[in-house]
């Protein structure tokens, strides 16, 4: 077990290191002289050289990378074009996105797991076809369009929910939830469709297994067979799938926050890109990648706790 954890953590660290190189190199691959941009109107060689020296742009690229990484590890991601610390901007935007992602995860997995179990148990019956059909539509309908439709229906026509914005949880929990409900449903739909499909096939597989036949032969009630035996084993597979969907959730947050005007991490990404604020882009992408790697690592480790076979063979799958 110890060796397994060590291997996974090591692999995650390697991926993170390479990701940081990619981010650093990617920003520097953009054509244009940073000193020229910093200098603005000022174009005299002396001033530019001074600027280069001040920002360390005249050092070898490896030294620049080392310094950048060292600072990043200490929570300093530099300053954006408005001279505000990037790390602070990101940290203050993150809670909104985390709340949105958490709520979507909750809604998406709950709907997905329940629908998947129902579809598997009632295989070939109308409710199976219905949930499959809804899942397929959920996968095909782009969620930003779903968001616009929900705004039209629930904000513009019915006036039930606000069309956008954010109220912190501490200020007013009820308003917070009212503002988060539509975005969370929009973001959770895609997830629920994926979870539903996985859950259905995992359940079908477990329901066909020998131990289920044994459980049935012992005379256990259908409820116990499905809930205790089949469901528990299927949840292992679905945990991984939910973990893998976190990337999609981050991507989805970008557009969901744009539509619902939530000043979170996703909205920050788009603003950084539109304003060509490279320090901010660098920080945002690095944090997104780090978060994703850490989540995947956690899912991997969680999976090995749930499924002891992996620990022995040392490889998932």
């Amino acid at each position: 077990m110890g060796g397994f954890i060590l291997r996974r953590v090591g692999a995650a660290l390697v991926v993170l290191f390479l990701a940081s190189v990619v981010v650093f190199a990617g920003i520097r691959a953009i054509p244009g002289d940073a000193a020229l941009a910093l200098g603005g109107e000022e174009r005299s060689p002396e001033v530019l050289a001074q600027l280069r020296h001040k920002y360390g742009l005249d050092d070898p690229i490896v030294v620049q990378y080392g310094r950048w990484l060292w600072l990043a590890l200490h929570g300093d991601l530099g300053s954006d074009s408005r001279e505000l610390p990037v790390a602070h901007t990101i940290v203050s935007a993150l809670p909104r996105t985390l709340e949105l992602a958490g709520l979507s995860l909750l809604i998406g997995s709950l709907i997905g797991i329940v629908a998947g179990v129902v579809a598997a148990v009632r295989r070939g019956k109308p409710s199976d076809y219905l949930s499959n059909g809804i899942a397929l539509i959920g996968l095909s309908v782009p969620h930003f369009w779903l968001g616009l439709l929900m705004i039209i229906a629930f904000a513009v026509k019915l006036h039930w929910l606000p069309s956008g914005g954010y109220v912190p949880l501490r200020v007013d929990p009820v308003e917070n939830l009212r503002h988060m409900l539509m975005p969370a449903i929009v973001l959770g739909t895609g997830l629920s469709a994926v979870v539903m499909r996985q859950m259905r096939s995992a359940m079908l597989e477990s329901l066909g297994a020998d131990y289920i036949r044994t459980a049935r032969a012992k005379g256990l009630s259908e409820w116990t067979v499905v809930g205790r035996h089949a469901l528990r084993n299927s949840l292992i597979t679905v945990t991984t799938v939910i973990g893998l969907q976190l990337g999609a959730l981050i991507s989805g947050a970008v557009i969901t926050e744009t539509i619902f005007q939530i000043a979170g991490f996703g909205r920050l990404t788009i603003d950084a890109v539109n304003q060509r604020d490279y320090a901010l882009i660098q920080g945002v992408v690095l944090v997104a990648a780090a978060g994703y790697v850490i989540v995947n690592l956690t899912v991997d480790l969680l999976y090995s706790v749930l499924n002891p076979r992996i620990r022995i063979s040392g490889r998932p799958g």
Binding site: A11, V14, V15, L16, L18, A19, V22, G26, A29, I30, L136, I137, L139, S140, V141, P142, F144, W145, L148, L149, I151, I152, V156, S163, S201, L204, G247, A248, I250, S251, G252, V254, I255, T258, I259, T269, I270, V273, N274, R276, I281, V285, A288, A289, Y292, V293, N296
Partner: protein, 291 residues
């Protein structure tokens, strides 16, 4: 058709006929194929189908309701929405097709190399793929589109690059299992060159997997193009694209919600059709995953 006729067909033709018949037995897949065909035809013959040009403005009819003159009404500049949806299919189909082709062109050779040459090649490629997969797909595409600059071509490139890592993994896995097949081992033992073995024996046996993957990537790329265009990183207005139309509909959600309905409906139907087609193809070509 007589028994003799069927028997006289080549094995390949017989297999094609069998697969075709299996496909036709799936009504949803056939429906998907038909809708996909309609979208492709619409994109190609957009100038013939659309009653107006995409940029024709009619200031007498701003935000007009649907009528005989304007089938789906007009937008805030008096442009015919139906015509713009028709023209918008061009950007979507282009992005879907070319992003997928680009992803294939990048991923298949790399996946072949990773799966075939073990040694140092496989771990290096697999690690690099892991790194790229560490970036969520849209973040990657947004970042690339930001570096390359906003345009349909660059959005397509970004989507193709974004889809490649996942495809590399799948191609690699396929090669790994095909490599252990007896006929491949026999070809290696016979001293066939790597190129012959990969091109003659492994690649042809991967085509069905790749075809299924293509139908998975196309709808993702279509939705991806609309997302990038919606965010201002893809097609630039006034060129019509479903994503651009949705973005410009946002200020008019209370006055003219239909502006936001039709382009989104087009995206959803196109993506749904490709997904149905893909599900059907998967069932037909890969009986292992049959549900």
């Amino acid at each position: 058709m007589s028994y003799v006729e069927v028997a006289s067909l080549s094995p390949a033709a017989r297999r094609r006929r069998l697969l075709g018949r299996r496909f036709l037995r799936r009504p949803m897949a056939v429906a998907g194929l038909i809708v996909v065909f309609v979208f492709v035809v619409t994109a190609i013959f957009a100038p013939v189908i659309a009653p107006y040009s995409a940029s024709h403005t009619d200031f007498q009819a701003i935000l007009a309701h649907p009528s005989g003159q304007h089938l789906l009404g007009t937008d805030e500049l008096g442009r015919d929405i139906f015509s713009r949806v028709v023209y918008g299919s061009r950007a979507s189909m282009q992005a879907g097709l070319f992003a997928t082709l680009l992803a294939m062109a990048i991923a298949v050779p790399i996946g072949l190399a990773a799966g075939y040459y073990r040694g140092w090649v496989d771990p290096v490629i697999s690690r690099v793929t892991d790194v790229i997969l560490a970036f969520p797909f849209l973040i990657l595409a947004v970042g690339l589109a930001a570096i390359l600059g906003p345009s349909l071509l660059n959005a397509t490139i970004a989507l193709g690059f974004g889809a490649a890592p996942g495809l590399i993994r799948i191609a690699r896995g396929e090669v790994l299992s095909l490599r252990e097949e007896d006929y491949v081992r026999a070809a290696i033992a016979n001293g066939g060159s790597d190129l012959t073995i990969l091109g003659r024996h492994i690649l042809p046996n991967m085509t069905s997997t790749l075809l299924v993957q293509a139908t998975v990537i196309i709808p993702i790329a279509i939705v991806g193009e609309s997302v990038l265009s919606f965010l201002g990183l893809g097609v630039q207005p006034p060129t019509p694209s479903w994503g651009v139309m949705l973005a410009s509909a946002q200020p008019f959600l209370d006055q003219a919600p239909r502006l936001a309905v039709y382009p989104g409906l087009a995206i959803a139907i196109a993506a749904l059709a490709f997904n149905l087609l893909g599900d059907g193809l998967r069932d037909v070509l890969d009986p292992r995953t049959q549900r």
